[in-house]
Symmetry: C2
Subunit: 295 residues, 2 copies
């Protein structure tokens, strides 16, 4: 039984049925708030897999399938959003709400405004801060967003009612919804998510191309595994994130290089006390974060 005050989504179209789109579909089904879920994508195999896993009810490869949707969720890499906006543009109207799960926001907003023009008012940009180094619909799970934060970066032209609609959709998955300015979103996520991915990819690449690569990997301990886990993430998704957030990221990489050069100087000059202070400060900051999570 669905409580009367639950918002129903009669027809949800998920474009790109991967980890995020698939998990959203499963979470909404679990909550019993959705009528029909249609998966839209290019690869029939993936879509068939999604049906057989019970993630979507049916699928289509033609974008006319978005017609009559209350809600369209775009779960494709951020570099593919523009093409998707172009393809859905002919079929959307004043009753359609569009949202996405892209990891960078300003670029997607620019795409939406350029392609959908006035229709961009129907687009509420979003980003669930959840994921995994695994990708694909087989990794989807209904609990992925439980107690995770979803950031919405609404547009001034959005009607409050559709912001509310997207907010409730995410709340039904168990997530906590916050709103944020898109530029700030890209800067903050650039630091806590994009930069670490870049460091992990660069470190593994660096070691793998070195003289002792095999021996290095043989002797890698648990710390190395955890540190590089995110280097197993989807290269296309992360290429797109890197390129679409390049201004903010380039600045962060540059700043990080400066910090690392400063530490190298401490190392070269054997300034042990300052090295210890830096490590101690970092450990305390991280431990506070861990304590905060626990409480």
């Amino acid at each position: 039984m669905v409580p009367a005050d639950l918002m129903r989504i009669e027809k949800l179209v998920v474009i790109g049925v991967g980890l995020i789109g698939g998990s959203l579909a499963l979470a909404l089904k679990r909550r019993g708030v959705v009528g029909e879920i249609v998966g839209l994508g290019r690869r029939v195999e993936t879509l068939e897999e999604a049906v057989s896993l019970g993630v979507i009810d049916r699928f289509d490869t033609d974008h006319s399938a978005v017609q009559g949707a209350d809600l369209i969720f775009m779960g494709v890499p951020v570099g593919a959003m523009a093409t998707q906006f172009e393809r859905i543009a002919p079929y959307i109207n004043d009753r359609t709400t569009i949202t996405d799960g892209g990891s960078t926001k300003q670029h997607v907003i620019d795409d939406a405004r350029q392609i959908l023009a006035g229709g961009a008012s129907r687009f509420v940009p979003g980003h669930p801060i959840a994921g995994s180094e695994r990708s694909g619909v087989a990794a989807a799970n209904a609990a992925l967003f439980d107690k995770h934060t979803v950031l919405l970066t609404p547009l001034p032209e959005n009607d409050p009612s559709i912001i509310e609609q997207v907010t409730r959709m995410w709340q039904y998955t168990g997530a906590c919804v916050e709103t944020m300015d898109p530029v700030k979103h890209d800067r903050i996520l650039g630091l806590t998510s994009h930069l670490p991915h870049i460091l992990a990819y660069t470190l593994v690449d660096f070691i793998a191309r070195g003289d002792n690569a095999e021996r290095c990997f043989d002797l890698a301990a648990g710390g190395f595994f955890d540190f590089t886990r995110i280097a197993s993430s989807d290269p296309i998704m992360w290429r797109d994130i890197t390129v679409t957030n390049r201004e903010s990221l380039s600045e962060s990489i540059g700043d990080f290089i400066e910090r690392l050069s400063a530490l190298k100087e401490l190392v070269d000059q054997e300034r042990a006390d300052e090295i210890e202070s830096l490590y101690r400060f970092a450990r305390e900051a991280r431990n506070r974060l861990v304590d905060k999570r626990k409480s």
Copy 2:
């Protein structure tokens, strides 16, 4: 019942009863190959805790306690090894075997030769590739070394019989023992362990000192937690590792900065294909490593 061919350690002295020294003591007790375990340290509280946890049988704060030991294990940070060598020097003889668990090897070897002179022939340098961001005796556990690698970097002046003795000691803990040249050890561990720690500490420090520090940490996802886990490691231990391996590390940090600068250029120039190739190459290298571990 101890099988007749097991090597007994009648008296083991553990200098520095922390995560590594404590876990070694517990693992050897579990295997039933050790007579008495004496803990040696500065802080009586820690030593009392170690006794109450059943890690050591008794403790002392005076280095004369090493007299009559078959085996001395030095579980102190690498920067503290020299002082320990000085203090045990008066009490060691041709029956004493000394080994350590330090994360850098060349520096400890230099200390041993300088301080123990001919007595350095009784010292077999070692490094268990196991650990945790946790430290202290409360984190010690008998299974820490199970199936982990222990690297020994024996000296030309070591008698084969004491290399064999230290090898068997580690095998009793469940570890696989390999030998390696100390310079190569420091270079390889510099890449797979020391450099990642430095990157993790530097990243947390960088973000924690930034404008949006609180907001950044609030929005950090699982990837950030795993990536920075090693930034919760003991600052003194890691200060010592950084300083004692500074030549090799300085070179690795410098090389890494070059790689990161090259990637920054790809980002600035929007060279998406090359970014994707780098990410793909890194992911494949890491995934091969994960598969190897599993098998």
